[in-house]
């Protein structure tokens, strides 16, 4: 259960931090505000997942301790969300692929037999719904936009595609969660994801990559180099000044 909650909370934490890196740097003011708001939602959701993880673990660690005092190999986030921001199109494509998965995942978790998980999911899914609407809209506008925006969105899709499969890969922990009625197998979401993805990509005139090779490891603690760099920035204060408070 603890590991399962880390997978949810670490994924929203890492994406929330990545998205927050855009604050003050976005191409237009409205997008800057939108990205900051999305990052805020992600961090808020993280508080709930990691807060519950700390409770379940029972070792006295709260959400902050879990976020700021663990090393890269202890993180259980999806590899997709630790990918660097690169250009704006790349950031949006990562967000879109994530939102599509996240929305399905949370919708399923609303039916969890664990009331605490269902409660958090019900709170988060409303936000995820809103994020997905925005992501879809922008993917269609930029994919079906100018020659340059189309080319950038297609390049982003191809670069991020190897990280899509991990969202739907099952392991022993997933089987345990599924048997306990806490969370359905991630693979069970794939058909719904594919259907929604294909619809949006068609409207965006983007081509779905054919090679479904998937990079795995994030959910069991094997990360790309980028996560370590991100954590070095994110955790600096608590590492340099342990227990510092506002």
């Amino acid at each position: 259960m603890f590991e399962f909650l880390l997978r949810m909370g670490d994924t929203t934490l890492v994406l929330g931090h990545r998205v927050s890196e855009w604050c003050g740097h976005s191409p237009v003011l409205e997008e800057d505000i939108a990205l900051a708001n999305i990052a805020l939602d992600m961090i808020g959701q993280t508080r709930m997942w990691l807060g519950l993880a700390g409770e379940v673990e029972g070792q006295g660690r709260d959400a902050d301790a879990l976020a700021f005092r663990r090393d890269a190999w202890d993180f259980r986030n999806l590899l997709l969300v630790e990918r660097p921001n690169r250009d704006f199109g790349h950031t949006l494509m990562r967000q879109f692929l994530f939102d599509l998965w996240h929305h399905e995942r949370l919708s399923d978790l609303c039916l969890s037999e664990d009331d605490r998980v269902a409660g958090i999911a019900a709170k988060c899914v409303k936000e995820a719904d809103y994020h997905l609407e925005r992501s879809k809209d922008l993917i269609i506008r930029l994919g079906d936009g100018s020659a340059e925006s189309h080319q950038k969105m297609q390049a982003a899709l191809e670069a991020l595609w190897p990280y899509v499969g991990e969202m739907f890969s099952d392991d022993t922990l997933d089987s345990e969660m599924s048997e306990a009625g806490i969370a359905p197998l991630p693979s069970s979401q794939r058909p719904r994801f594919d259907k929604a993805l294909n619809t949006t990509l068609a409207l965006a005139t983007l081509t779905r990559p054919e090679n479904d090779f998937a990079q795995l490891g994030g959910r069991s603690g094997t990360h790309t180099e980028d996560l370590g760099h991100m954590l070095a920035t994110m955790q600096f204060l608590q590492r340099a000044y342990p227990d510092a408070r506002w």
């Binding site: 409205e30 997008e31 505000i33 939108a34 708001n37 999305i38 990052a39 805020l40 939602d41 992600m42 961090i43 808020g44 959701q45 508080r47 709930m48 009331d115 269902a118 409660g119 958090i120 019900a122 709170k123 988060c124 409303k126 936000e127 719904d129 809103y130 609407e133 925005r134």
Partner: protein
């Protein structure tokens, strides 16, 4: 012995930190008040990451202490999740007068000229709970409460 009704009345005087024309009660974030074993107030956040949540707790605690309530307990309750349906109907008019279009299903009306000829500029506005619109008639930009 303080009554639940008294606590509700005090909380009705605490303004929301982001939208001060509304009280926390009108915003629908106070879910429960209990005076059984000391004072307990259950609060639900509007959005999970809303930075106003911690200020809200601080304001509630200050208000209760100011009225002689010792050590009030404040708990966060996330389920059922907050919805704009919990914003009291009388609060809609206050929001409009303050320049924020109240949460309604469908196209928001301009809070200044009441025109329904409005366009979404950005799904995210100045706070997590609002989106940004423009009026096609009086041309003023405005914030609209997201309806959900």
């Amino acid at each position: 012995m303080v009554t639940e009704a008294q606590i509700w009345a005090w909380l009705g005087e605490v303004p929301d930190p982001e939208i001060p024309v509304l009280s926390l009660v009108e915003l629908g974030v106070i879910r429960q008040v209990d005076v059984g074993q000391g004072v307990l107030v259950k609060i639900t956040p509007t959005y999970s990451g809303c930075p106003a949540t911690s200020v809200i707790k601080l304001d509630i605690e200050a208000k209760l202490r100011e009225n002689g309530v010792e050590n009030p307990r404040l708990e966060t309750q996330i389920s059922p999740p907050w919805t704009t349906d919990w914003i009291k109907p009388e609060a809609h008019e206050k929001l409009r007068a303050y320049g924020i279009a109240p949460p309604i299903a469908g196209q928001p009306h301009c809070p200044l000229c009441n025109s329904s000829n409005t366009t979404l500029i950005s799904p995210f506005g100045s706070t997590p709970c609002k989106s940004h619109y423009k009026c096609g008639d009086c041309l003023e930009p405005f914030d609209a409460f997201k309806c959900h």
